[in-house]
Subunit: 345 residues, 2 copies
DNA sequence: CTGAAAGCGCTTACAG
DNA sequence: CTGAAAGCGCTTACAG
């Protein structure tokens, strides 16, 4: 009895928070036995088991996960690292992750990294100390090698939706191909001066979407006009001023491919505020198919990705890894859909 | 040496995952001493401390949070329970929570409850076993008393944004007053037949907003016309058909107050698709001021709540509770803003 | 089939 | 100022 002094661990005294020893005493057996009926891994005499089970029920006993984790080296907890849960697509992915995790007995710790390598590293340092069984990472920072380092340290890691790499498991869509097909559709329907409103190309998804755009133009014998490449300056809302600036200078694309739906919606606003019509004067194509995109005016044509499934599959893969199924790393590529509504002609 | 047999705890062997004992040996002191320099709670000879610090650095040692938690009975982890992270307002709240928690050395476990009492209970059972230091709950289920039970068991609990109760700390806005002022504004600007598009009144926020709507009408000598009360049937999108149905029957409100922005956006779509104009024929007022609401066509007038601050303050309060400052429970009421854009005349 | 014992990695009262 | 020891609540190899 070292401490147990005047400390304030109220929870200690609450009925309902019991330990193995308490259960064992009430059942008249040793804690080893209780542990065994709990784990179900060894045979226990039917009668003993019944007594133990009853004692557990009477005492409302639930095992202390922390102690188990300390002993076993597993916490049944995974970390989900996303740039920002605020960003439209991550809530859906997160929901997929969480649902699967919950079903399989895991809890998820949410980390917002802001695509900042330092914050990412912070989290990793904090979590790696056996606090976490594995990492699900939607990072867009291709240069950062802390992922690889984590993996080398033996942590299960699955990459989600963004950057990926042959050495690490991943679940993604083919962003290049999706952009390629979206822009090709625009070309097929008669557009000739297609602008792109692109997120930072330092993030691999945007780089890929940009390449898809450029190659689709090339494949149709058109070429990329630097005037028509609108790069994000400072957040999504900057596209409002960027687009207006472009139009005011008299530059007149006949379509704009936005690399995300929120960007597309902001751009539609700028177009309308400039006195032009959609899709009459300018078509707009988005990316992501966020829920609202069907309801804005005009309803937005866009490319949809299976976000929920991405999260769900990612979680499933990670938990398989944690539970020791060691297959070689594999990148799962999910499908996308081109959804035509009224913002393109 | 009981086990240590052929088990697969690879992480054990990885450099970088060290324990107190290792650090102590390298520094030529006892683990007690190392623990002491780490905690900073007792004096340690300057020279000894320096040696220890060096050893820690050399070994890239970070303490095992699990072991600390087991010993101390605290995990520095809080649970955030939200109906669904998918729902527009929760990502922002969550971000506020997470930022504060992180700054104060806490991690947050995210739980999606779907406003389902059983799932809520599930989580609580799972997490209560000292896994978690406290709960931040955005539950809308007023009838559920598991919150109260949790509190009685000694768990710190803070309620967020939704249901609240005098016995438990909470951070909210005055939903009644906000709706009252929004609808009063509509009345002042000449609207006489004001409809409400209301989420399920079983959820306390919607009940409050409904009351604010009803009382604002009453205060102006108008009364609630049951024909103009549109109740959600099955998710936000149902308002599309509900609104169209209303208009098709020839019922013609001159304004619609929607109890959330997504509802407002869906309703605007239905109005336009029915060949009417906004705000010419019908004004629309939303609630929440989600980011996109400034960009939709027409830009949406709405009531904004300080979501980020709500999350941040909630987290701060919870952590204070956890750290033992026991003030009497208090409900903090944050301000709201009526934002007039172009969807109301 | 079951118990006693060691050990997971910490912290801290107790002696020096 | 510092170390040896007990204990947080579990699990499991080792003996019976």
């Amino acid at each position: 009895m070292a401490e147990r002094g005047g400390d304030d661990n109220r929870r200690e005294e609450i009925k309902g928070v019991m330990n193995l020893k308490g259960v064992a005493e009430r059942a008249g057996v040793s804690s080893s036995t209780v542990s065994r009926v709990l784990s179900g891994k060894s045979y226990v005499n039917e009668k003993t088991r019944a007594k133990v089970l009853e004692s557990i029920k009477d005492l409302h006993y639930t095992p202390n996960v922390l102690a188990q984790a300390l002993k076993l080296g597993r916490t049944n907890t995974i970390a989900l690292m996303v740039p920002s849960i605020h960003n439209e697509i991550f809530p859906v992915i997160t929901r997929g992750v969480e649902d699967v995790a919950r079903k399989l007995g895991f809890t998820v710790i949410l980390c917002n990294t802001d695509d900042d390598a330092e914050i990412e590293q912070d989290y990793i340092n904090k979590l790696r100390t056996r606090y976490i069984d594995g990492f699900l990472v939607a990072s867009a920072l291709p240069g950062s090698d802390h992922m690889r380092r984590l993996k080398e340290e033996g942590f299960p890691v699955v990459l989600l939706s963004r950057y990926y790499d042959d050495d690490i498991d991943a679940v993604i869509i083919d962003n290049y191909q999706a952009a390629f097909e979206g822009v090709s559709y625009l070309i097929r329907s008669g557009h000739k001066r297609i602008a792109i409103a692109c997120g930072p190309r330092a993030l691999s998804i945007y780089e890929k979407r940009y390449q898809g755009y450029a190659d689709a133009l090339k494949a149709a014998g058109l070429k990329v006009d630097p005037e028509l490449v609108i790069m994000e300056v400072n957040g999504t809302n900057s596209f409002y001023y960027l687009t207006q600036g472009l139009l005011r200078k008299g530059i007149r694309p006949d379509a704009i491919f936005a690399t995300s739906d929120p960007k597309a919606i902001v751009i539609m606003r700028a177009i309308v505020d400039s006195g032009l019509s959609i899709p009459g004067d300018i078509s707009v194509l988005g990316f992501d198919n966020i829920e609202m995109s069907a309801f804005v005016e005009p309803p937005l044509s866009t490319i949809s990705q299976p976000l929920y499934e991405m999260g769900a599959l990612g979680a499933r893969k990670l938990i398989e890894l944690i539970q020791g199924e060691s297959k070689p790393p594999r990148t799962d590529i999910l499908g996308f859909d081109l959804i035509i509504r009224k913002s393109t002609r």
